[in-house]
């Protein structure tokens, strides 16, 4: 049964990552309504219970920036260069739509779970 348990654990991990993927995008966009650089963004997400590793966050930030949802700027702070990100004007309505969608999905799920 070890293999079965192992594959169940892998299966859960894959499903968990899939579930998190979309939520992380919404969370990152929402957090970046206030300008932040990568490390503080990671810390604030982790403080709110949504830890994300650097290998996932930075490629995601680049992708969102290339899609025009974020803007970034290199600035010196505490004698070190840091890249600051914030939600772009194009990203604001998208974030609103995503939040509406998320709330709708959440409400549906709750109804489904109550019925079960």
């Amino acid at each position: 049964m070890t293999n079965g348990n192992q594959s169940n654990a892998d299966l859960f991990e894959n499903l968990r990552l899939e579930l998190r993927r979309g939520c992380l995008i919404v969370a990152v966009l929402a957090q970046l309504r206030t300008e932040q650089y990568g490390y503080t963004l990671r810390k604030s997400l982790a403080d709110d219970g949504l830890a994300i590793d650097e290998g996932t966050l930075y490629p995601l930030l680049r992708r969102l920036e290339s899609q025009g949802l974020l803007v970034s700027q290199w600035r010196e702070e505490d004698k070190r260069n840091k890249r600051f990100y914030r939600l772009s004007s194009a990203g604001e309505p998208i974030l609103k739509q995503l939040l509406d969608e998320w709330q709708s999905i959440n409400a549906s799920l709750e109804r489904i779970l109550q019925e079960a």
């Binding site: 650089y37 990568g38 490390y39 590793d53 290998g55 930075y58 260069n81």
Partner: protein, 356 residues
């Protein structure tokens, strides 16, 4: 966006961090190397500083190593910055896999087993060497075919050829529901009846050559190859009858007709190979392998020409039959493989949807 300055750390304790960033750099897209490394380096430095503040002392190599280990393998970290790339994308991949399977498994292997293999083995005095040569050639053919198919699909992917098949389809043009293939009893009875008649004909022909030659039996008789291969032909005929009788008795064994047909074809091909081979070895000056002249017209030039013509016609017919049976062998192999695939339970597949 201004160009970032180098955030790379310096100093002995940070050497490990520099080595890590150097390893990440190797796998990064060139155009973004500096930008990505500056950002990643800044994050790692911030993590180190936080940890040092927490401990109240500089980190040693092991503690720094733990942070880097958590960050991940350099190649993996870098790979996340690469755009999603694939040789053959999800649109083309099912078609690619189907073509690859069709060519490598269902065409090349049967062709080599049924046609190329016997031809090489029978033409080679050393049968073992012939077999090895067949495997070598099959392997080479598989690699080349696989490579060419992959190249073609990779090119289609590269030039962004749209797979219209996925979009232009009409539900009404879908194939009808597959029915369970159970051979009809009437068809099998007819096949048995013809098989019995053919067997009787074969058994009577040596005594009554007129059944084969008609009026020409007055000057033609069977050649030496007929005597050599008479018994194998009778056995083949019996084998065909046996599998048809069993198919009639056990119609639920739906694997038997295709398997029996395939075996019958393969055995016939083997016999035909030997016949062609033996015909080729017959001396040219007395080349009457299938049909010869009866003794009393041995010296007739006219009948000699007719006999030669009949022999050549038979040889050509055998060659044609060999080709036809080879194609039939491929088709029967394909049918049998489909049947086997259907019978093997697919463990991870979901239960088929059934309408209520």
């Amino acid at each position: 966006m201004s160009t970032p300055s180098n955030n790379l750390p310096s100093g002995k304790p940070q050497e490990l961090l520099q080595r890590y960033l150097q390893a990440v750099r190797f796998w990064l897209p060139k155009s973004q190397q500096e930008d990505i490394l500056a950002e990643l380096s800044e994050d790692l430095r911030s993590q180190v500083e936080d940890k040092e503040t927490e401990l109240g002392r500089p980190l040693d190599d092991a503690e720094l190593g733990a942070i880097l280990k958590k960050c991940g393998n350099p190649m993996r970290v870098a790979s996340r910055y690469q755009p999603g790339q694939y040789l053959i994308g999800p649109t083309w991949f099912p078609v690619y896999r189907f073509v690859l399977k069709l060519v490598l498994l269902w065409i090349l292997i049967p062709v080599f087993v049924v046609i190329v293999g016997p031809a090489i083995v029978l033409s080679n005095p050393d049968r073992g060497a012939g077999l090895l040569q067949t495997f070598g050639n099959l392997w080479t053919a598989e690699i080349i075919a696989g490579g060419v198919i992959t190249l073609v699909f990779a090119t289609l992917e590269r030039v962004h050829v749209k797979c219209d098949v996925a979009e232009k389809w009409d539900p009404r043009s879908l194939p009808p529901l597959a029915k369970e293939q159970i051979q009809s009893g009437t068809k099998t009875i007819c096949e048995i009846a013809f098989g019995v008649l053919a067997l009787i004909w074969l058994l009577l022909v040596p005594q009554y050559p007129v059944l084969a030659f008609g009026p020409a039996a007055a000057f033609l008789k069977f050649g030496p190859l007929w005597h050599q291969f008479y018994i194998p032909i009778i056995l083949l005929s019996l084998f065909g009858l046996a599998h048809q009788i069993i198919s009639l008795a056990r119609p639920q064994w739906n694997w038997l007709p295709p398997l029996g047909r395939l075996l019958s074809i393969v055995l016939t091909l083997i016999v035909l190979n030997f016949v062609i081979d033996a015909a080729g070895r017959t001396p040219h000056n007395e080349w009457h392998p299938f049909v010869a002249l009866v003794d009393r017209v041995q010296d007739s030039a006219r009948y000699g020409q007719i006999a030669a013509l009949v022999n050549v016609s038979i040889l050509l017919s055998i060659a044609g039959t060999w080709l036809g049976l080879s194609i039939a062998a491929v088709i029967e192999t394909w049918k049998l493989l489909r049947l086997v695939r259907k019978r093997i339970p697919q463990g991870h597949n979901a239960a088929p949807f059934r309408a209520a």
